[in-house]
């Protein structure tokens, strides 16, 4: 009934193209496992074609289509349909504050937002999906719109507003080629997708398995995430997982009771990876190759790789933290000091990146200071300033040292502390700052310091929650009579850090 081949042939690299190829090879193989049910490649294709046909019927001409969907399955189907249509997708997150989603829509100039149930936030821009039964001729899902971009994601921004990262099909193709070249995944593999669709690792965790005909398990909507992940890793015998180190850190106490013999690959990223923690993790998954990857939304997910090893990594770890390793092929880097001079081996500097995976601008050409041109061997390259401080060790492995600003990674999420402080200041009209502290188990949490006014902690948090994401909310607000200032008349964060909260 379906002619997947014709759908494939008309496309250059596209998420949907790879998916169609798998549909052709493995039509009855499970593609998605969610809420105890399986959806085969053929069944998933059918669902995708419904949304595709709906876009055709509505004569959508937008090169970027927003998607606001409450379930993983709706997102999965919608993203594949948008890709098949030829447009780029921009995911909006129902868990985000309404104002944040509205800002993203406005800033990106989105005019069409695909939704699957009634939503009032986006007015006339809303395109509410209705049942559309595909006819036979719509089985060839050829692109209607020509678009170089694959997707646009918004990340936390220090100026108080998120910034849009446009990632091209060429950027993603380079990333996927790395995984196709370096690993031998097949239709027998079982992956897990644990990330919000607004989080860049979801791109790899969702689209890559579909490329090789593997299955993907989604998490149930209810309950605590790290427990659900462990449950699925164990019960569904997952063979490959993209995870943030927090999952291992939160599970640490229980790891001696957990056995994951089927797990072949664990790709950690998003936070500092502790060597000691990996020794414990490896005992739970004895047949697993543990890898530490590094990347940013601006580098199309991951861009460096380090293969963890019990003995070698103990020597190579810096302050107990595993290196982020070497760059993927085809990427160029500079490590620059404060005077923009290249650092020598062992010297700490800012990592600047260029190459096929690296974006060369933000949406609306904002934050141009984060990009610069440099001639290298007669070639003019655009480099992106990551803001991450790194150094090379004697084996030329990169070590992550920290940030040169106030960005942190909170359970894998990229969080600009200044963005939270920006809103706090707006709400309280007092001096405010936000500090990341560690609990007894080494897990980061946020504490806000605010100069006392008549507002209570509850008042402030409820208004703050309307503007920033749940995971960015401080665990505690500490009121101070007068904010301590340093010699430069700036908030003395060192003094605040010493306070016992």
């Amino acid at each position: 009934m379906f002619n997947f081949t014709e759908s494939c042939q008309t496309m250059s690299f596209n998420f949907a193209k790879s998916f169609f190829e798998s549909c052709q090879k493995y039509p009855n193989h499970p593609a998605i496992i969610t809420k105890g049910k399986q959806l085969s490649y053929k069944e998933l294709f059918f669902e995708v074609s419904k949304v595709y046909r709906f876009l055709v019927a509505n004569k959508v001409q937008d090169s970027i289509i927003g998607i606001y969907a409450k379930t993983d399955l709706q997102n999965a189907i919608g993203l594949l349909a948008i890709a098949a249509y030829g447009s780029a997708y921009l995911p909006l997150n129902p868990k985000f504050a309404v104002k944040r989603n509205q800002y993203i829509v406005e800033n990106s100039g989105l005019n069409c937002i695909l939704v699957f149930e009634d939503v009032s936030h986006f007015g006339e821009k809303t395109l509410r999906m209705t049942d559309c039964i595909p006819e036979r001729e719509t089985m060839h899902l050829t692109p209607v719109v020509e678009q170089e971009l694959a997707y646009v994601l918004y990340t936390s921004g220090s100026t108080g507003v998120p910034k849009g990262v446009p990632v091209s099909k060429e950027n993603v193709e380079a990333l996927f080629n790395f995984f196709l070249t370096n690993y031998n995944f097949s239709e027998k593999d079982r992956f897990i997708q644990t990330f919000d669709w607004t989080f860049d690792i979801s791109v790899l965790a969702f689209f890559f398995p579909l490329m090789v005909g593997a299955s993907i398990s989604f998490l149930p909507k209810e309950g605590l995430k790290f427990l659900q992940i462990l449950d699925i890793l164990q019960k569904q015998e997952i063979t490959a997982a993209f995870l943030v180190p927090s999952v291992a850190a939160l599970s640490k106490k229980y790891l001696p009771e957990i056995v994951l013999p089927k797990l072949k690959y664990c790709f950690f990223a998003g936070e500092a990876l502790s060597h000691d923690l990996m020794e414990i993790w490896q005992k739970s998954c004895p047949n697993c190759q543990i890898e530490n990857h590094y990347g940013l939304t601006e580098t199309a997910v991951y861009i460096t790789r380090y293969v963890w090893h019990k003995t070698h990594s103990a020597k190579e770890a810096f302050n107990g933290i595993v290196p982020i390793g070497k760059l993927y092929p085809g990427t160029k880097m500079l490590i620059l000091d404060k005077n923009n001079q290249s650092c020598k081996v062992g010297e700490i500097g800012e990592l600047c990146l260029s190459g096929k995976q690296v974006v060369t601008q933000y949406i609306n050409n904002d934050f141009t200071e984060r990009f610069f041109n440099k001639n290298r061997n007669g070639e003019r390259l655009v480099f992106f300033r990551t803001g991450d401080l790194v150094k090379l060790n004697d084996s030329n492995e990169m070590l992550y040292i920290g940030r040169n600003d106030e960005q942190i990674q909170l359970q894998g999420h990229r969080v600009e502390l200044k963005e939270i402080a920006f809103y706090l200041q707006k709400i309280t009209e007092r001096l405010c700052t936000v500090i990341a502290k560690k609990d007894v188990n080494g897990n980061l949490f946020l504490v806000a310091f605010v100069e006392q006014n008549e507002q209570t902690e509850k008042d402030i948090l409820s208004v703050l929650a309307e503007n920033i994401n749940q995971y960015m909310l401080p665990k505690k607000i500490v009121f101070v009579k007068k904010m301590p200032l340093n010699q430069n008349e700036k908030i003395d964060k060192a003094a605040l850090k010493k306070l016992n909260v």
Binding site: G223, L224, K225, L227, L250, Y254, D439, N441
Partner: protein, 83 residues
């Protein structure tokens, strides 16, 4: 015994969530409490283990769907301990 456990667990919830007026129910779930995330959950379990002098296993932890399950587990572990 269950009522005593319930009251003591409620007090632990109030300490962890820093909310003296917090009332728990047997069918209360993590999804209903805004600040009940993975970190808070672990802090809660740890405090309950210390308070009652018990150890909650991974299998028991995975079986919790609501506060009622947690209280049943505490009761079961206390009975095992006294026997």
């Amino acid at each position: 015994m269950k009522q005593t456990i319930f009251e003591e667990v409620e007090q632990i919830f109030r300490t962890i969530f820093e909310d003296d007026s917090l009332k728990i129910r047997m069918d209360l779930t993590a999804d209903e409490v805004a600040m009940w995330d993975s970190l808070t959950h672990l802090a809660l379990i740890s405090e309950i283990e210390n308070h009652f002098g018990i150890t909650i296993s991974f299998i028991q932890l995975m079986a919790f769907k609501n506060v009622g399950d947690l209280i049943d587990c505490v009761e079961k572990n206390l009975l095992t301990k006294t026997n």
